[in-house]
């Protein structure tokens, strides 16, 4: 059986990216990743087939994230602008450009309706249609439809 340490080593960064599609504030994003990790830890004994770990982990991640968003309603947000500007790296111009592109994409993903946001984050994490269907409880046809709509909306927002 997979351990939580293995899951975090293999999927930690992906979970952080999924979390950032729900949560803009850095400290709250970390809090969400932590909640996802606890939920994964509690659910791991229920995993029947270790080969299905990836959709299993992402299903928990999205479910936990949705509940986090609902619970965070009305909580004050922190400004993270100073953190962004202070952490520009050795080539500040290139880093800032790359970060700006990344930020624009993440912001556009956050603005997508929930069903589209969920499929597109899993597409961006390289999950197959079958895996996305398993993670979100959808048929492959439904996954295809949602991906097409999500991609079209995302493209329009980034144009």
């Amino acid at each position: 059986m997979a351990t939580l340490e293995q899951v975090l080593a293999d999927y930690g960064p992906a979970l952080a990216r999924i979390a950032s599609s729900y949560e803009r504030d850095r400290s709250l994003r970390d809090e969400l990743v932590q909640e996802i990790a606890v939920a994964v830890w509690r659910s791991l004994p229920n995993l029947q087939d270790p080969a299905r770990l990836r959709p299993f982990v992402f299903r928990i991640a999205h479910n936990r994230a949705v509940s986090h968003v609902a619970r965070q309603a009305g909580r004050p947000r922190q400004d993270e602008l100073s953190e962004r500007l202070a952490d520009a790296g050795p080539d500040p111009e290139a880093s800032l450009l790359a970060r700006e592109r990344s930020d624009r994409l993440v912001e556009a993903v956050r603005r997508l309706p929930l069903p589209y946001r969920q499929v597109i984050t899993l597409v961006l994490e390289d999950l197959s249609y079958d895996e996305i269907g398993e993670a979100l409880g959808l048929t492959s046809t439904n996954v295809g439809v949602r991906i097409n709509r999500a991609r079209a909306q995302l493209k329009a927002m980034l144009a």
Binding site: R17, Q34, A37, S67, G74, S102
Partner: protein, 191 residues
């Protein structure tokens, strides 16, 4: 390569470029799992405390032959354990994260907000019960049935608890109502 492939390839590159550091999270994880267990134990401790303290006060009332203490103990047993028990149940009854769909999670959360609102209503009623008890005890003091000195302490404790319960219920209810609105809005996105 098609335009669609180009778009997704670039999107994937930009997606991966975001900061996804999780080291700090791993470090805090152990503390978080322990805290969750501690909070659940805390609620259960409230049930035990309410029953034990109520029983002790009732026993003192019986041995000293004081009806006011009997009443105070009975009210404590009536008020604290059900509230803590409900809070414990609400805390441990989490959605099955690995089985549910996101819509299912939201529906469960919506149902839990209803339970939460009922719990707050129960809390308010229990605050009223405490205030009624304080009033009854002071009437008993005024009528000379009960000794004044002993009742000051008991009624002050019950009065402060009642005010605390009202404030807590008011604050929690606001949060629960916001959560319910948010659940309904998120569920609407799936329709």
């Amino acid at each position: 390569m098609t335009d669609e492939d180009d778009f997704l390839t670039e999107a994937r590159r930009n997606w991966r470029a975001q900061d996804s550091e999780v080291e700090a999270v791993s470090e805090r994880l152990k503390l978080s799992t322990r805290f969750g267990r501690w909070m659940a134990l805390n609620d259960l401790a409230g049930v035990v405390l309410g029953v034990v303290a109520g029983a002790v006060i009732i026993w003192m009332g019986v041995t000293r032959g004081e009806a006011a203490m009997l009443l105070a103990g009975a009210v404590l047993m009536l008020v604290l354990p059900p509230l803590c028990w409900q809070a414990w149940r609400a805390r441990v009854e989490e959605p099955k994260w690995d089985v549910e769909t996101s819509e299912g999670v939201l529906r469960q959360m919506l149902a839990r907000t209803e339970v939460g609102l009922r719990l707050m209503s129960l809390a308010r009623w229990q605050g009223v019960v405490l205030l009624v008890l304080v009033a009854v005890l002071w009437i008993a003091v005024a009528a000379g049935w009960v000794e004044n000195r002993r009742m000051i302490l008991i009624t002050a404790a019950y009065g402060v608890t009642a005010v605390g319960v009202f404030l807590w219920a008011w604050w929690r209810e606001r949060g629960i109502r916001r959560e319910r609105e948010r659940c309904e809005r998120l569920l609407a996105e799936f329709r």
